[in-house]
Amino acid sequence: MISIILFNSIAALLIILIVIWFWLIKGKSTQAQTNEITIKVKDGVYSPSRITTKQTKLVLNFIREDASPCSEYVLFDQLSIHEQLPLNKLHKIILSNLKPGHYRFTCQMGMYQGELIVNSN
């Protein structure tokens, strides 16, 4: 009986942790100090995945170290940007005339996810 309660409790806790991890916790935001920031594509994630900036022009240096075909493209849907990321090479994406707002960036399938937050000065 104890083992059943223990197992179910651990499983329920696991479900709660999954919900918190995927839906409730927002990743730590990285403040872009200059107008240039490097984003690594590695192990299924963008690092950093949340970037906050006040710049209206931003240079994003993507370095793709993840060989998975899923990570081959990065898409900024709201900015109509779609760039192929070469493996183990730096790829610059220049964003200009950025207006305050939240811009999602994802891989082609929406599995790798990141967010660029532009705050007004």
Binding site: N8, I18, W21, S68, P69, H82, Q108, M109
Partner: protein, 568 residues
Amino acid sequence: MIWPTLVPESARHVYFEAALIIIALVDLGAALEIRARGKTSEAIKRLIGLQAKTARRVDAEGNEKDVPIEDLQVDDILRVRPGEKIPVDGVLTEGHSSIDESMLTGEPMPVNKKVNDLLFGSTINKTGGFLMKATKVGKDTMLSQIIQLVQQAQSTKPPIAKLADSVSGYFVPTVLILAVVTAIVWFNVGFSAGFILVTSMTVLIIACPCALGLAAPISVMVGMGKAAEYGVLIRNGEGLQRASELTTLILDKTGTITKGQPEVVKMITTQSFDEATLLHYAGSIEQASEHPLAQAIVEHAKKHAIELSKVDDFNAITGQGVLASIDGKTILLGNQRLMTEHQLSVNELLTQSNELASLGQTPMFIAIDQQVAGIIAVADPIKEDSKTAIKQLQKLGIHVVMITGDNQKTAHAVAKQVGIQEVFAEVLPEYKADHVKKLQSKHTVIGMVGDGINDAPALAQADVGFAIGAGTDVAIESADITLISNSLQGVLNAIAVSKATLYNIKQNLFGAFIYNTIGIPIAAGVLFPMIGLLLNPMIAGFAMAASSLTVVSNANRLRFFKVKGQKP
């Protein structure tokens, strides 16, 4: 296994072979997927491959030297020899030739080019050698613009993909939760630790977010490239989907159904005058006018080597015509109203004038020194393939409507010739968009085809705007789809490719949804209590690898799509 006693006896099986085979299968699937995905961008690679590598530059002293195209500057003079690719966009300055532009327009017939005609980089010079002046180089050439547009469009998604996108966002955590729920259920039912481990792991292995996420983007990528091969540039996924759902298509008359280049088609003289005299005065007076019909008369006079005279006291009367003094004679050229206003009777020519109008031609009366001398009929010829294309559109169940600023008589005559029943005539440019709006309230998906600046608001208002031919930049900016060729066949090509792409996306989405909705419950063991079926994790690994590979392979089938009777 180290310390096997730490886990229950029923969970001591090591599964080394399963782990190995699963990793091998997933890696094999990924490798095959990378290979197949490489093929999806073949259309773009082919477009890039069209670019010429070198050009023969002629310097100020007349010396010629082969240089890489990267070194070319605007205003460089280049020599293009027969059989060579035109290196960059430019204007023909010396000589003439016929050019194969099929790689850009999809039109198989070579186009004759003479001095001052526009040339496009990467098209092929068929016959004569000539000199050209570069006007656009590097990223500004038409081919580079096409490549950029297609690359950008390939990343967009049609509305149909929205469901898959929202599911993808929740997919991974949902599958993790399902694996835990599977474990909870089997544990509480009383199954062994080994069974619980196998079912939970199989759920994680079989779930394939890739198939779902790839379903639309991969087909869009191939479809956009395929469309570009047919000279159809689709701006985004929404345009692609809407083009496949068209119910009504509005065609602008001038430049879309007709050639947009009026020409003199008939001359009728009264007894006292001959054609040469008529053409002399008509050509002379129209030199001063900027009206497209005037240009047609001047061109016609020049073609017949008629010497034109100086025009004095030129006066254009809006809605009627022109009057001026030439060689001391008073010349009137215009419609019946102009003649009536000047107390001139056109009764003698009225029957013929009405006949010409009923054929879609514009008859213009000419009077010399208060005497009606004849009629010059100008018409904008209908493009050779307009009638066939309209018939095919109607066969597809699309209601075709014509819109024009022309008078009712001419508009209906042209519509009759091409088989269109519904016509909006005498529509001022600013009201074209209103007519689109009106139709949108009656029909579901409205397309609009036009080429001019005046069509831009209507193109933007329509659900799918098609800018046809070398349309103006404003028209192209406002349109969802740009047809490089100047033919209505381009609309048919766009519809055919978009329908094929949408069908392909639907197949992919259906496959991906079905795979996951059937595969995950089976992996969780729902069939075990009924028929004793439990999925082996290795088979789950194979199914997972195969599912995304199937999606990519199915999308690749689009590369072999052909529009009936058309060559890409």
